[in-house]
Symmetry: D2
Subunit: 409 residues, 4 copies
């Protein structure tokens, strides 16, 4: 039933493949045209284009070049699509390559952007996760195993010229408020490492100077890193250019809400099958600004959770005003400290929150001055009972048994 | 099986009842002592102590005195509880009074603190929700009905003197950064309307000058407004004073994540049954800072959702840095604009998001500069199909039919 | 919102109350008339009308008079209802009386009809279950606790004269195939203990000789004992007589699929709130023979199960042909034998299967000669881990600790 | 991570492949030895070994040779396994072959064994289902689409000589009660079409005369057709012969409880990944007679259902005694009659019940003389609303549009 298949070659550098691009620009040529109703199977490199290896050292995560990431497969052109339409994308299935049944989770070094908790965990870390059918487990993080909720971290349509211009303007304005910050406030266009797909070289060079980086989610979707865009979900994307131009990549085997480790989920190379349809003039009909979507009937259904609260007070006791970012951070820190009582290192616990299907909820957002966020940690994913009891926690995991020195001890 | 019952009298003012208090202070006397393992049934006034009426005018919401709210029933003393213990609270059941099968949802006026979207909806609004067994519906918001996820908006143990002092210090420091702000950044102690339970008058007067207001969630739980603390859940609260001193109130029939309308959930008077137990020295054993909890096996299980994304760019196009608060705001605004296409007024749609069991997820929190939040709106709660289709939305609701002029049209 | 309330008096014998009946007959007078859209709250005695006590002896279960059971509250008349309509019943809520927070589960003695496994457990047994809010636990069955899925075991409309005649004819034909069987094949009309509600005495006496007993489920619903008819569900009942005549009772706090202990669920006295509506001529429109229903959004959502298979081979090794009854029996026996390895007596395990929200599935029904049934036992309801492990089971329960001698040891 | 892969060749007849067998016998040689903890990927033919084609004629279903079916891949030997152990099988993943993204559902002709409703639907029927990622839909059954719950219809360990003898004895005894029945009561050994795997020809010929047919589920599991044995589940199989000898096949993309169409589910060729482990002496430790299993965390989670009841009264009004088989039949017939009101032919509706993830529950099994069974039909799988309403049903499907004449009209 798959009309077309767009392959990638994992043995080649992404720059050598013209079905791939790593910037957003309206002029990137379609690599394939499809009809509404068609199904397409796209192969994707992992988000770093192969920079990370299946080994026991975090050196590659530490040294990754973050301007050379998010290698997207596409853009796919849809006949009849016009700006203002909604592109209906059914995510039919996602999988790892049969011969590549593994993925990685990393925490960037502080210098490289870090992660959500980079102040606490400033060094590069890596864990390798092996896939056992629908489940993943890691030799670097023992005692835990969970069903994947596979999804594309990054998916969306090409921006129009106007939208691109707006992105560049507003993000540069933010950068200008603190241009020397480490990590930077945003990632401006950077031509040197741009891969503009099938654009001719002169045009590509020029477009690259203004083409948007792929880091943030934006109006078109993009790097939204929403774990719920899993197989079986349906997404409605705004169309900005004729023929839509849908691209995707950054496949994840699993991820927790927030992708807090930044590098981030369980990252993998693989394939994704989609079907496209159109709702003509749907943007206006439904007053759509950002993509909307319907979840899948098929998701890991963990029901037993231990839930951690966080409020918007810093570790040093400073009160912030309704800061949901901080509240979620504190919920995450609380969960990590809890898991350490069972023997996990902080970085291991952090990796669990980044990879397992944890939920991050904004529970209270109006009770001044504290936002309240909650982190739902499924307890069924552990080999042992992590619930509180009168006996207190037992040390179930020993960092000494881990086959690598990459973890903090 | 209920060992003890703590009644309230809805026909009396809360100030006249000594089983009630509306401030946090370590010296508020226990109104009842129980043993670990005991079950207690506490009756509670609605959070305003009866200021809001079941009628078609929002005048009472507009004029509410917010220093006279959060009338809590308690504190309950638990024999043997000591600072550093975890108080294990099983929330056994919650209900409305048989003769009071209704609740209210309000949006405060901007002057009164407003709600999450007070810039867009600055005027006071109210909707009355009738309970039909486990479901609620409103004559002010037609076309929608949902199963309640009843919970106490506010529950926690008395703070120690040290903790209270820390709260006052850090919140005052925040206020001092912009002391004249409307709405204020935080709510400092305010003795005039303090209800100190059974404290003797002289001591009460003095304590009231430092007793913490109940608005924000804090380390002890408090006004966390977490919809998931529903009947069947188990909560582990840090204990700060001998005998713990557990109080609760602000019962909600239902609420969406964030309680975005501020007044906020479907607020009700009613009763709550709990059972208490202790984990001795549990705070240290499990490295607990904020309460942790286990969810209930019995919750409304809506599976079909329409999910709205929001990113941290303001309505005027300003880029903010990883601002989850703003991202969730935009997801909410997107959902409201969507629902308006079916005939709802903005305030009606806003009320739905505040009352129905919507989920607010922090989906992406590391992809600089945009946080990505998602709002999960259950579609099964509507009488009509709200999913996108090629036909476009139909006007299913008419504000003209609403029996009141309180809504924006 | 409750339009009308139909009380019962638990301190009086059911025969003394005229809002109650215990037979099905078209001429039983309506005790209350309601309009479509109305809500009604009906109080109900427990199914035995108070024959069973909260104590530690099974003597009352052993001696129960089974011709004096199923005391139903009703019938309620619905204005405008005509034969051929569908009566739409929303089950809004169900509860125990505040002062009666307990229920009972019994196994009848073989002479009294026994239960599903009466050949293995021929003696009368009883367990008392205490309600702790939404959960039940029993001093007679330690180590297990679960959220109730409250429902009426018995609900339906009065039969027409023709339908009643058909019931009597076909059931008598069955009885005639083995009239002296113990237990009997069916329960024929029995006038002596009939309670015909508000029928005048002469008419009642005559009608009682043909009025249908309430034991079996039939076309109108009746004693279907479907645990899923819980609060929040909607049922569509065929209407056979003018004004429908809806009656109900036999309230259950919880029950497993099959109600295998016969007496059977956790039986309780209590109340039920319903709302009625009509689909005119719905029986024909939807080709309805038996009631159909929609489940509730609010049900205990246990996800972790241990699942037992059974096939249609008897204990003595005899092969039966696609006998789903036998297959489910064997699945139940397999589960009981499994639970005995943890220290439960057989009768205790049997009681768990009768009361807890276990699911009984007909998994395979065509693979000659064996039907395959599966019993889904939720593992989260136990205080200890009952999953298989390499260590083998541990004795977690000791019958010696049970405060009664009613159990087999 | 896959240690070993056992291929099949779909282009060859099953008889030509020695990794396949279609009978149960203790002497069938292991085709591969694995260690506890190993993962294996087995490819499987569809259950008919390729007799059914992807076309619009049911002739192949009508003419299928039922003695040449259930081609199982295996047996796999597990080092260290001994009789009395439990073989722990994790079903890691299941899939169709990339180039074979389709399956079939059939109803056998009455002469060929028919299906559950063969008296009503005596003619052969077939529907082809196309896989669109995780979902299936059919050109023969419009308006319906659902997520697959992939599982092996048939899996289990080789029987011991004693167990095989018991099977043959008890099944022959059943056949002897009505030896000329059509369809037959059971399927006795039949040497002519036996495929005994790698047994040497002389030994194979002899063993074939006593080797058990694969049709029924038995103590070892076998053809249990339990839809819940899906990817992510864990099964505990009794071991009867040294090295266990685990075989499997009859892969289903999806199936409803009961597999009522007999041929049956959505049948497919494909592959299955498993991991094996042992619980030594587990049969005795846990008192295991039939396999037990734990379900997957990843299953289609349809929540909205329309539920049909059935009782044990025949279509002609004859009363049967607690006959769960008949009660489930009536629930199925009721659902089919209901679906016909929307335009489906009876055979189409029947095919939906056989293929979609419907649940069949034994709801009441003790209320003499009627068993009560319920069929849960998920309503979300239909493109249109099938719930009852005051307007009545609309004809949404037209048999005239179906590209084949195989359906009854």
């Amino acid at each position: 039933m798959v009309a077309k298949r767009i392959p990638v070659d994992l043995s080649k550098a992404p720059e050598e493949q013209d079905t791939i691009h790593n910037r957003w620009h309206p002029d990137i040529p379609m690599i394939e045209m499809v009809e509404p109703g068609d199904e397409v199977m796209l192969e994707c490199m992992d988000w770093t284009g192969g920079q990370i290896e299946n080994n026991d050292s975090a050196a590659d995560v530490r040294d990754v070049d973050l301007t050379k990431v998010h290698y997207l497969t596409g853009p796919i052109g849809v006949k009849g699509a016009e700006p203002g339409d909604l592109l209906v994308v059914d995510i039919l299935d996602i999988g790892a390559f049969e011969e590549e049944q593994w993925g990685f989770n990393g925490m960037f070094a502080y210098e490289n952007g870090g992660g959500f908790l980079t102040d606490l965990y400033p060094e590069a870390r890596k864990s390798i996760w092996d896939f056992h059918g629908i489940n993943a487990s890691s030799r670097h993080v023992p005692g835990v195993s969970f069903a994947g909720i596979m999804h594309p971290g990054l998916i969306g349509c090409l921006p129009s010229r106007e939208l691109l211009s707006e992105w560049n303007k507003r993000e540069q304005a933010l950068i200008d408020t603190d241009p020397d910050r480490t990590p930077p406030l945003a990632a401006p266009p950077y031509a040197d490492t741009a891969h503009m797909g099938r654009m001719k070289s002169d045009a590509a060079r020029e477009a690259a100077t203004e083409a948007a980086r792929t880091v943030p989610p934006r109006e078109h979707g993009g790097n939204c890193d929403i774990k719920d865009l899993t197989k079986g979900s349906r997404v409605f994307f705004p169309v900005y250019v004729p023929e839509a131009g849908l691209s995707m990549g950054d496949l994840h085997f699993s991820q927790g809400d927030g992708e807090i480790t930044f590098c981030g989920a369980i990252e993998m190379a693989g394939w994704i099958k989609i079907r496209v349809n159109l709702i003509k003039d749907g943007v206006k009909k439904y007053a759509v600004r950002n993509p909307i979507f319907q979840p899948s009937a098929l998701q890991p259904d963990y029901k037993q959770h231990l839930i951690f609260e966080g409020i918007s007070v810093t570790d040093s006791g400073e009160q912030r005003y309704l800061d949901a970012h901080l509240a979620y951070r504190q919920a995450c820190v609380n969960a990590i400290e809890y898991l350490k009582q069972f023997g996990y290192t902080g970085a291991q616990a952090y990796a669990i929150l980044g990879t397992a299907p944890v939920q991050g909820h904004i529970s209270g957002i109006v009770d001044i001055p504290n936002a309240c966020a909650t982190l739902f940690l499924p307890t069924e994913i552990f080999d042992f009972d992590i619930n509180p009891s009168t006996e207190g926690p037992k040390m179930m995991v020993s960092a000494d048994e881990i086959p690598t020195a990459i973890w903090d001890k």
